[in-house]
């Protein structure tokens, strides 16, 4: 017995089917393939995927009740399809955006023209948690601070793609993008014969090139390392994966030390070895106990010294997070005009800044319609989902906002687009977003698609894996070739 697609109905924009229930052009092959499968076929494929994930050891770590639990990666086997033409435009928009963000960061740490020209209020900078005064006057190579950026894209009910946020500190998820594809190839090999699906596994090589380009020493093969906080970090799987795929050493803080010559070394069986580039996956504040958090054992003493003297490259650069702030976010379209003199290709989601009296007034009066976000949290923590919150929670948030207006911004609740997702007893629409990754360098690189995160619970808009979200393989499909 086949799946009853007649029952499938999304109350917003659906990625696979249009309003009349017909598959969109790029998804035609996938849809016709899926309709031929019986419910039993589908659940067999799902089991195969679960097994593949277990066997491949694709996991993430959740911290709960004082214990770290390694969980299998929650994955939905029905891919999400994006037409190539749309993706090309998105790619351009992302590159434009990250160029402007890097220009902003460099400006903030040097001349601060953006403030002098009154494009960005000085007061906002003063309150920024991620501004690092230690980075003033530093000029990393090519003016690039955020070498790796993960931007979250969402689609509203009209089908427009918006940027929801930019992650410029230590964005994660890219390994799952690659592994999701590996799983899908095991589960639906036949689809790859008939559909022109763009490959995604180029990323580690591209990342390697990006990092190698940062080496302070010319010639020779640079020594690149990936600095991880260790096995208890939720993204440890990814750290291992990327280090392995790039063929670089995976190091922990105690493996590194900075000598009196300000050069960074790692401890090896042959004695100390000089390190040129550190792809760090720990937060700024843990990088260097000499400068930041004195208790930190995750970083290495003297790293900032080595970095400011140009003896070692750090990616992303410390202090890049100043632009990874939900309040700064609202200025990005202005930055694109200001620094690049271009019109933004990708729109921002409409946002209200609580530090502005009028906008705060609106927010406080309309809390039940809005999502309120703290400026500097990630992973979906510390948010208020207005429509779902109780009166008490809304009141609590109103107090929080009044006490620290700079720290909050609000957005209307978007009805995120949906895609068909397997649930117990069939296929139903579930909301999703998309996180592409952008590598900044002379010729920037954008992943082919990105990581699609899906809220597995009916009606839920929360896609974070730490909060019950799952993911899907993302297909950029070429509709010109291979059709018919």
């Amino acid at each position: 017995m086949g799946i009853a697609w007649g029952d499938y109905k999304s109350d917003t924009w659906d990625e696979l089917f249009d309003g009349t229930g017909k598959p969109r052009p790029a998804g035609r092959k996938l849809a016709s393939y899926l309709t031929k499968l019986s419910a039993q076929d589908l659940s067999e494929r799902r089991l195969a995927a679960e097994l593949a994930i277990k066997v491949m050891g694709i996991s993430f770590t959740v911290y709960s009740e004082g214990q770290n639990v390694d969980r299998s990666w929650p994955f939905d086997i029905i891919p999400r399809v994006i037409p190539k033409a749309e993706w090309q435009r998105t790619e351009k928009g992302l590159k434009q955006r990250v160029r402007a963000l890097n220009a902003f960061i460099q400006d903030i740490y040097t001349d601060q023209k953006v403030i002098k020209d009154k494009v960005f209020p000085k007061a906002l900078l003063g309150d920024s948690v991620n501004y690092r005064k230690q980075c003033a006057d530093v000029k990393p190579r090519g003016g690039v601070w955020a070498h790796v950026c993960g931007s979250d894209l969402v689609r509203d009910s009209n089908g427009t793609l918006f940027v929801l946020e930019d992650n410029l500190r230590v964005p994660s998820g890219v390994s799952y993008m690659i592994e999701n594809r590996a799983v899908i190839k095991r589960v639906f090999p036949e689809l790859f014969e008939t559909t022109a699906i763009r490959p995604v596994d180029d990323y580690p090589a591209q990342l390697y090139d990006t990092l190698a380009g940062l080496s302070p020493r010319s010639g020779n093969r640079p020594t690149i390392v990936l600095l991880t906080p260790g096995i208890y970090n939720s993204a440890y799987f990814e750290h291992c994966y990327l280090a392995q795929q790039m063929g670089v050493a995976l190091v922990e803080g105690p493996d590194l030390f900075v000598d009196e010559d300000d050069v960074c070394y790692m401890r090896t069986i042959e004695g100390p070895q000089r390190v040129d580039v550190i792809y760090r996956r720990i937060d700024d504040l843990f990088l260097d106990p000499e400068v930041f958090n004195k208790e930190s054992v995750l970083g290495a003493k003297g790293l900032m010294r080595a970095w400011t003297k140009g003896k070692v490259a750090l990616a992303n650069a410390p202090g890049a997070g100043v632009a990874d702030d939900k309040v700064v976010y609202t200025f990005v379209p202005k930055f694109i005009r200001y620094y690049l003199d271009e019109d933004p290709i990708l729109p921002n989601v409409e946002s209200f800044l609580c530090h502005d009296d009028t906008q705060r007034g609106y927010v406080l009066e309309n809390l039940e319609k809005l999502v309120v976000k703290p400026a500097n949290e990630s992973g979906g923590y510390g948010m208020l989902m207005g429509p779902k919150a109780s009166k008490k929670e809304r009141e609590k948030f109103a107090e929080l906002i009044k006490a620290n207006p700079r720290n909050y911004m609000a957005q209307p609740v978007l009805s995120l687009s949906t895609a068909p997702t397997m649930v117990d007893g069939g296929i139903e629409p579930r909301h999703l977003d998309l996180r592409p990754f952008i590598l900044s360098r002379e010729n920037p690189y954008v992943t082919m698609g990105g990581l699609t995160r899906v809220a597995l619970e009916k009606g839920s808009l929360v896609v974070n894996s730490s909060q019950g979200g799952g993911s899907k393989d993302t297909w950029i499909v070429d509709t010109d070739e291979g059709d018919e």
Partner: protein, 312 residues
């Protein structure tokens, strides 16, 4: 190579080898008990003695009547509280190798996870005498598969050398332990003429716990006897589980690592001890003391490695 990584690879290798050896030990002891008459049966406690974990066993199973098959087998197979169980060895191998996953072929990590999942799923069932044999065989197969994947897919880089050092130290250690306990046992039943036939059975079981029986027969071509078994397992230069073979293989590994005289000396010294051993004399007396000396030598190698490479 990072010192921390070398350390983890070495211990990953040791724990994997330990898991395999433990599975073999339990298997062979089961077989042996079926063949021996009741009055010479030593039961299951010799396994605890072989591993030198009497204290830990006593802590978990304190009663006098606790030294029975069910408890010993649980202690060695899937007791989470016991550091000597196969489950714990595989867990520790997984924890060590997990932190250095980036240096291993992806496939080997998948196989290690398979083994871990299998132990969790079927460990309890494996305690049951009816399924034990099959269960242990699956553990052994999984370990061999893992070693196979590593040997076939891994470049002979520094990381591989540390894994190999780990497996060889562990094997040398286990071989001496098995000899030690079994030989003590053997001496116990000497003298009683009617039991002489069973002496051979015991020596055969020693060989079998090290999968050495067939190789021994091919080489020695006479019936199984104490002196030649001892010579084979201590001094043979061709059999991969003999103590001398393991040490020689470690010796061959050293040129691929940064030179450290202390490690070289520790290995050479222990090898000389083995070569100079007069096996016939040892069988008459002092075998146990001699094996203790070899054990001290192996521990010395372990400590020299740790000092030279893991504590940068």
């Amino acid at each position: 190579m990072l010192s921390r990584v070398a350390d983890n690879l070495y211990w990953g290798g040791r724990y994997l080898q330990r898991a395999e050896s433990t599975a073999r030990l339990v298997t062979v002891n089961g077989h042996l008990l079926l063949d021996l008459p009741r009055q010479v049966q030593a039961g299951w406690m010799p396994l605890i003695e072989i591993l030198g974990v009497e204290k830990q066993f006593k802590t978990l199973y304190p009663e006098a009547g606790d030294t029975n098959e069910a408890n010993v087998v649980r202690f060695l197979l899937n007791d989470e509280r016991s550091a000597s169980s196969i489950l714990s060895s595989v867990r520790r191998a997984r924890e060590s190798l997990r932190t250095v996953r980036d240096t291993l072929p992806q496939e080997s990590w998948e196989k290690l996870n398979d083994l871990h999942l299998m132990l969790q799923a079927d460990g309890e069932k494996g305690l049951n005498r009816r399924y034990r044999q099959e269960f242990l065989q699956r553990v052994i197969d999984a370990c061999l598969l893992l070693f196979g994947v590593l040997t076939s897919n891994m470049s002979r880089d520094t990381g591989f050398q540390f894994l190999r050092l780990g497996t060889n130290v562990e094997q040398a250690d286990m071989t001496t332990r098995i000899l030690d306990v079994r030989s003590v046992n053997l001496i116990r039943i000497r003298g009683a003429d009617d039991l002489a036939a069973f002496e051979n059975i015991q020596w055969m079981s020693v060989l079998r716990s090290l999968t050495a029986y067939e190789m021994y027969r091919r080489l020695v071509r006479e019936r199984v006897q104490g002196d030649s078994v001892l010579r084979f397992l201590l001094q043979d230069r061709e059999f991969p589980r003999s103590v001398a073979f393991c040490l020689m293989r470690m010796q061959r590994t050293l040129p691929k690592l940064p030179e450290k005289r202390s490690v070289e000396r520790a290995i050479t010294r222990t090898l000389a001890l083995l070569r100079d051993a007069d096996v016939d004399a040892l069988l008459k007396k002092d075998l146990s003391e001699f094996l203790d000396e070899v054990q001290v030598g192996i521990k010395g190698i372990n400590d020299a490695l740790s000092e030279a490479y893991f504590k940068a």
